[in-house]
Amino acid sequence: MSFTKDRITKQLENAKIKNLLRGTIIAAIYFTSTVLIPFWTFSWIKTINVEGVELQAYKQQVNQILFYVWAFGLLISGTAFFAYSAPKQSIRRGAFAVIQIILNCLYLWSYKFSGALEIEFDLVDLGIITVNLTQMILLYMGIYFLTVILKGYDLVDFIVNREKIKYKRGKK
């Protein structure tokens, strides 16, 4: 086998390993941030007792949010693995990046089931403070929409400039 051919075969092997490693690391980060941390947090909330009394009223809500955390967390992590183990500027990476952002929107909105969007603080001798986070979530969702537009633009760019991208890759 010639030196050039040997080098290319080796580079192809490296690309495979690099892609899969990148996908695994990013998927692990997503899994930690979208499943493990929220799961531990809400599981801990479930165990909270106020002066020995369990917060039964919130248990159903917490169970529901735990379900959505697992469900969408798994989908987001799987999509992240597929997207980030795909080559840079590839069409499949662009497509899965768009899907991932949409799943992020679903995941974020599913938090409304936790009741976390409206929190009440009862201050002794002072009254009640209600913090309504709905506006903030709407703002977040709007920003997510802009991200969807950006990722969509990337995808169109990858499709339209396919030949140019391939040529650049060849030059590397």
């Binding site: 290319i8 693995f81 890759r169």
Partner: protein, 105 residues
């Protein structure tokens, strides 16, 4: 008191003011978009199964396995410019080439 210590860190207040300014400026435009997003996200959520996590595990497994297969078979690095057609023909003269140049990813 701890909050008196906090008040002394002025740059935090400046950062908070800047963020509030940006968010405040974005709000009239972004919030209605967010409201529209919420409407279709709420609609879409109704179609996701809520009884069991099994479908989600299955989809996760499919995504990971297909990701491994697809991205191993088509890693996307081609080096067409490095390895020219002439070089390929010279290397494989009189024998079958073991390297194929795909145009896919």
């Amino acid at each position: 008191m701890w909050f008196q210590e906090y008040e002394r860190i002025e740059f935090l207040q400046i950062i908070a003011d800047i963020i509030a300014l940006i968010l405040g400026a974005l709000q009239p435009v972004v919030t209605p978009i967010g409201a529209w997003m919420v409407s279709w996200v709420g609609f879409l959520l109704a179609f996701f199964p809520t009884g069991s996590l099994v479908p989600y595990y299955v989809i996760f497994a499919i995504l990971v396995v297909s990701g491994i297969i697809v991205n191993t078979k088509w890693p996307g690095e081609k080096y067409i410019g490095v390895y020219t057609k002439e070089e390929s023909e010279r290397d494989t003269e009189g024998k079958d080439s073991s390297i194929e140049f795909h145009d896919d990813d």
